[in-house]
Symmetry: C2
Subunit: 139 residues, 2 copies
DNA sequence: ATTTATGCAAAATCTTTGCATCAAC
DNA sequence: GTTGATGCAAAGATTTTGCATAAAT
């Protein structure tokens, strides 16, 4: 089942309507080859209104279907979420994100929260650097 | 030595001038009781121009004298940096940040980068939840 | 038929920039 | 006296909102 179908089904289940613009946004997200800004998504969807794209992105992010990654310069990019909780390696060169999960890392984070009497409800980890292929040949 | 003095000295060393508006911004940052947005900082400095506040914040952030913390809602808050590399516990209730360092956590991150052939150049870790005092009595 | 979603354009944010003036060195 | 910093207001960039219309259920 594709992301578009899956997300669409999920939306319908919760009571949202399956509309043509919504599906267009889902397809655009699915076919994105790299993490995108809302602006870029907007450009790839000339037929869909600004507000609709923003509203859909917000919706998908709230439903955890889309992950939002803050870059070092303060800008925000989105990427289709691969599912569960994960972290990102963000390449400064090509801009690609690589997802990873690390239970030990999460445990360490949980431990820090505990040590500070902090009730942990969420966390974000982003690594910035240069990915293997960029380091190798650059592109 | 206070933050204001320290930051001022640091700026002068690098060749920036010590000006009244700049010092006013430094003092406002030093006396902030909680992480602030640029807008809040602006409001606390009615005599200083918008542009100057933005320029100063950017400058201090680049010099690592100020840390920039992205909140879950996408907004950005700043806090005087306690110095070296660290991470944050962000309380969703009161908005206070607690800094912590964790070498083991950093090592784990380095290890993940290595495992992915990624040249690590920086990373950010934010924990979100409820701090001890908010969980206890609220405030 | 209802009710939700859309599209537009306007408004609200948030941040940067150009430029004349001013202050620091 | 040079050069860098400031303040203003204007321009950009980014996101949200109001509202009439259109589409989904």
């Amino acid at each position: 089942m594709s992301f578009t179908e899956l997300a669409n089904a999920r939306l319908e289940t919760i009571g949202f309507r399956s509309t043509a613009p919504r599906r267009a946004v889902l397809r655009a997200i699915e076919s994105a080859s790299a993490p995108f800004t809302v602006e870029e998504l907007l450009e790839s969807l000339p037929g869909v209104g600004r507000a609709t794209v923003f509203r859909t992105v917000k919706l998908l992010h709230e439903l955890d279907l889309l992950c939002r990654v803050p870059l070092e310069d303060g800008s925000i990019r989105y990427q289709l979420s691969e599912g569960e909780h994960h972290h990102h390696l963000v390449c400064r060169r090509c801009g690609q994100f690589t997802e990873f999960t690390d239970l030990e890392l999460d445990a360490r984070i949980q431990e820090q929260a505990r040590a500070h009497g902090f009730t942990l409800e969420g966390h974000a980890v982003e690594l910035y650097g240069v990915c293997r292929s960029c380091a190798a040949g650059g592109l």
